[in-house]
Amino acid sequence: MKHKPIQIIFFLIFLTGLSPAFAQEKKKIPWDGNRTVPVHNIPLRDEFNETIIPTESFPLPYSSRYTCEPCHAYGRISQGLHFNAFSSDRHGRPGEPWIWVDRDTGSSIPVSYRDWPGVFRPEELGLTFWEFTLLFGRHMTGGGVGEPAVDERSPDSRWNVSGTLEINCLACHNNSRKQSHSEWAFQILRQNFRWAAVASSALGEVGGMASRLSGTWDIYDGSNPDDSEYAIAPYVRYDKTRFNSKHEVFFDINHRPNDERCLACHSVSPASQSQFLAESDVHTAAGIKCADCHRNDISHTMIRGYEGESEQYKNPSASDFTCRGCHLREKKSQKQGVSSGRLGAPYPIHKKIPPIHIEKLSCTACHSGSLPQKKLTRVKTSRANRLGIYGIARWDMDFPAVQEPVFHRDSNGRLTPNRLVWPSFWGCLEGEEISPLRPETVKKAAGPILYPESEAAEILSALSMIPNLEGTPVFVYSGRVYKLNFDGELDASEYSGEIPEVGLFWAFKKNNSLSPLIPEFDRESDALDREIEYRIQDTLEALNKVKKQLYKPAVIYGNKIYQISEGYFEIKEWNGKAQDFPRLCWLKDNEIKNLISEFNLNAIKETVGYSELLSEEQVKKILTALSEADASQDSETNKEYVYISNGKMFRINQQGSLESSEHPASEPVLWPLAHQVRPVQQSLGINGCSDCHSWDSNFFFADVTAAGPLNTKNSAERSAHSFMGLGGLYQKIFGLSFYARPFLKVILFIAALFLGSILIITFVKTLGFLTGLLEKRR
């Protein structure tokens, strides 16, 4: 049979198309048994699968897909645990969700592509892959939603400018201490997705910002010839010393990643702890790496190490890497012929622990996380609180408040310590359902209500321009001093010194002492003291520069008013209420106003210097503003807006006041914790049964107060036992029974002694009797 040339050409094209499939098959070469890591001298390849020549004028960033693909199956890897949140239908035990945080609106919304209880799917919030990557790419490993197919890209995205965020193999496997997680985060912020891997690995230096380029820019366009100052196209300058003459680069690869690589995204530390007091996990201290237990093959289906994982993932070997799998010789492992005690895991003796505890508690309940305190311990996690990114600006945040430990039953019915976060978001209540609002929707409706500090900050900023002011301008309100910080926000500190009894006192601070900005002076004198006159004049001129002010600045003292009129300083009689102290104010048509509105002052008083971000008054105003914005859009249905925070739902009632109530959406989101594992001496129960079983033990009766961005007295409050599904009264009585245990032990001891003695006597007597019988028979 003869083939036409065209058929042969098509056949060759078909074979070419299949080549990756063949390549995949080729990669399934079994391990040869050698335990060394091969030297990775490999050529870098760009996203077009072309070898990178570092001396070229505009070299492209390397693509891990094409650089690593020749030996490692990128397709299989991309189905791994760190990349498959969106694509997999097996999500396993709940883990820490991503938390969409917006400080301005007091929103912290747990989101995840994984089907875990309490979290929102990104689609519910209208988050596209693009937005998700921009928000959380800082702590993502690349791949997954960061690398969407062309048909999965939303119209508003800029993937063509930024490139896709490929799996960053070096984020975990780079053994070099130059691997920089901070650099990765900066590049994500700049939308330099395709350059992030090369920048973070220090293979080259990346400049330019894709975020500043027009949406029509493409990698083919190269550098921007029209702008060398602002809209500079991203570029990479490779470190040429890293390349050999064959354009190969040595990758210092670690087959089992170093802990630092894992901890970049998985650190958890108590919020109030000093670094030098921070303990490492006992396993780390023993020289065990994260990847020693959290193993995976090329599929990157990493063992998470929780009980039940082996059944969920149909991976029997997973059960050998749980706490029990390693430390306890459980039948399951023996049956499968796998021995416990891996890496020298000691067998726990568990003296004085009744066996029921091993059955009903997870190992982590006593050995992991923070010890239960009267109040939950607030911790910071890398992903929630943006830890581990270092630069000029501070990236880490106190908000959201992640707390631990609360004990909750896992799928095996065992009490397991969990971390929790209370969601906070603005939402629209329809029936019983609440659909969350995106922060920008709230910002649009609320406007300046969200920024009470800005008015004060602007005034303080203006006052700092007063010439010859021997200190920093501040104001005192409700016993606290407020000053401007470097970020243009307010810092608050307590003040116990004496100040005039005026609501709002303007002063300047020098060497921790306050002096009035405009001191008292002889107001009856015909001629003002020159220094006073200059100070008043300078102050008023400075205030004149405050933007958006509709009123003129003035100083009222006694029955006189001092202001600048048409550029001239003038003193006039004041017909209004006389002031006992020079009062700085805004003036319009004989109406005087405080320099800072009362609403803003109250909001400042309740939020500045505290972890809370919003006051109840602000919430009320914002809810009203949302309803008004809705009404102005001639919406057919009257929607009710609510704010979820501090474990409660806040809404405006019929009387127009803010009321709080419980709602399922305000329930906390929990996920089990496993690390840090504490040493035996610090485990729960080391001091005896009363560590947990007492009238008011922290284990059962810790106060769980919902933490959130709202300064309110209506926060949800619970006792720790409510999370366990156990009765509080019973646990209290049971705890009390431990006071009687010593007596019970004595009773049992005496009883056993008595019974034993009588039985021995009887035994001896019977023996004697039987011997006698035998004698008689003889």
């Binding site: 726990p348 003796i349 568990h350 003296k351 004085k352 622990i353 009744p354 066996p355 029921i356 091993i358 059955e359 005896g688 009765g727 019973y730 009585i733 049971f734 029974s737 245990r741 007596f743 019970l744 032990k745 009773i747 049992l748 001891f749 005496i750 009883a751 056993a752 008595f754 019974l755 034993g756 009588i758 039985l759 009887t762 007597k765 019977t766 009797f769 039987l770």
Partner: protein, 212 residues
């Protein structure tokens, strides 16, 4: 495993006692086995059960009292024996209910009472032993009843001992598991011994001799 063994033990003992009673009664009436033995047995069982359920608890207690002269016991003896029976009955019911009918081990209020009544049981057991040890001495008679009595006491010792050992910080997890099993099997032994003991006591047709 324990549940299965317990279940089989209880069924076996019940079957044994029923068959034994039937045979004993036949022998007493000097009836010879015939072809309708199965029919006779079922009739006997049904009538026995009917009379058991027809008789009120009060009457039954009266009957036992009449037969065994319980009312002639001193108030202290009544308290002691009553306490022993009551505490043992509760320990048996709470312990075996969770073993046989629940997937969970004992928990909650039943556990709390199990611990409290366990202590009381130990005390009552000691007193009963103190009062009756001589009476059940093998030197007087080497009867089945005496053997059961001492088996019950020995099980009681194991029950008290294992409870105590599980409460003191001396034993490892594995040992504690063993102690727990030992506790359960001791409880089973004690129960079976108590049942057989009571049967031997109450099935005895001779009236208890008046102590006066």
């Amino acid at each position: 495993m324990f549940s299965m063994i317990s279940f089989v033990s209880f069924i076996s003992v019940a079957a044994f006692l029923v068959t034994f009673s039937y045979t004993k009664q036949k022998k007493a009436k000097k009836e010879s086995p015939d072809k309708k033995q199965a029919q006779n047995f079922s009739d006997w069982l049904v009538s026995g059960l009917r009379s058991f359920f027809k008789t009120s608890l009060k009457n039954r207690i009266k009957k036992i009292n009449r037969k065994h002269l319980i009312s002639e016991l001193s108030i202290t003896e009544k308290i002691i024996w009553g306490g022993l029976v009551f505490s043992f009955l509760y320990l048996f019911l709470s312990g075996f209910f969770f073993s046989l009918f629940s997937l969970r081990q004992m928990f909650g209020v039943p556990l709390l009472f199990h611990i409290v009544l366990g202590g009381l049981f130990a005390v009552f057991l000691c007193v009963c032993l103190f009062l009756s040890a001589e009476k059940f001495s093998f030197s007087l008679s080497f009867s089945f009843k005496n053997i059961l009595f001492w088996i019950f006491m020995l099980s009681g010792l194991f029950l008290a001992g294992t409870s105590l050992c599980m409460m003191v910080p001396l034993f490892t997890y594995r040992t504690q598991l063993f102690l727990f099993e030992l506790h359960r099997y001791s409880a089973l032994t004690a129960t079976l011994a108590a049942v057989l003991f009571l049967y031997t006591v109450f099935s005895n047709n001779e009236k208890r001799k008046n102590r006066g």
